[in-house]
């Protein structure tokens, strides 16, 4: 079964440094999501793409976070500068909203620790 690929699996960085995460969705999935999950809570949406366009980034802290999906396939989420409170699991998901009954599929996530 096709999977959503994410890298790196783990990332440790010092505060004020820059960090980037990469996601490759399931082939053919036009919709891509970045979620952040703080320990003990459910995932919360940061940004949603439809092809290369941002559909929703209302919860993205735009002073330090940025996301792009230039060719409408893979995507990069960047944090600069990282803060201690950014320590969390960053999850990428994709779905095929052009098809009815298309569920969300998640990657394995990137666990970020900011020291």
């Amino acid at each position: 079964e096709a999977e959503v690929a994410q890298s790196p699996r783990y990332k440790i960085t010092e505060k004020s440094q820059a960090v980037a995460f990469w996601c490759d969705p399931i082939s053919g999935h036009a919709t891509l999501y970045w979620y952040r999950q703080i320990l003990g809570q459910g995932p919360e949406l940061l940004v949603q793409f439809q092809d290369e366009s941002v559909v929703d980034d209302s919860q993205l802290p735009k002073d330090r976070f940025s996301a792009e999906r230039l060719k409408g396939v893979d995507s990069t989420l960047k944090i600069q500068p990282a803060e201690l409170g950014d320590s969390a699991m960053y999850l990428c998901a994709s779905s095929n909203k052009n098809r009815r009954n298309s569920p969300l599929h998640f990657g394995n996530g990137t666990r970020l620790t900011v020291t």
């Binding site: 809570q41 459910g42 995932p43 929703d56 998901a93 909203k97 969300l104 394995n108 996530g109």
Partner: protein, 109 residues
Amino acid sequence: GIQVEQSPPDLILQEGANSTLRCNFSDSVNNLQWFHQNPWGQLINLFYIPSGTKQNGRLSATTVATERYSLLYISSSQTTDSGVYFCAVERGNNNDMRFGAGTRLTVKP
């Protein structure tokens, strides 16, 4: 925005026992999914179930959309069922999936 409440927040079972997890949501939805998050953090899709009943092995789910709730049934639980179970709902076709806080299940041998 739409509110998603899951209960119970924590559940401890003996291996072999059955359980029911509940998800209540505050508005009509056109998409509902149940996920299992394993101890390594991976979110695994269990059911896509905006309405009706589905079964997959020892797991089944029922969504009553008109009454705004969904139930996840786990029968003959195994230690590998341990983890956090999340319900997520989507209100419109281009809206994001909103997650509940999850039910943490521990199955003891």
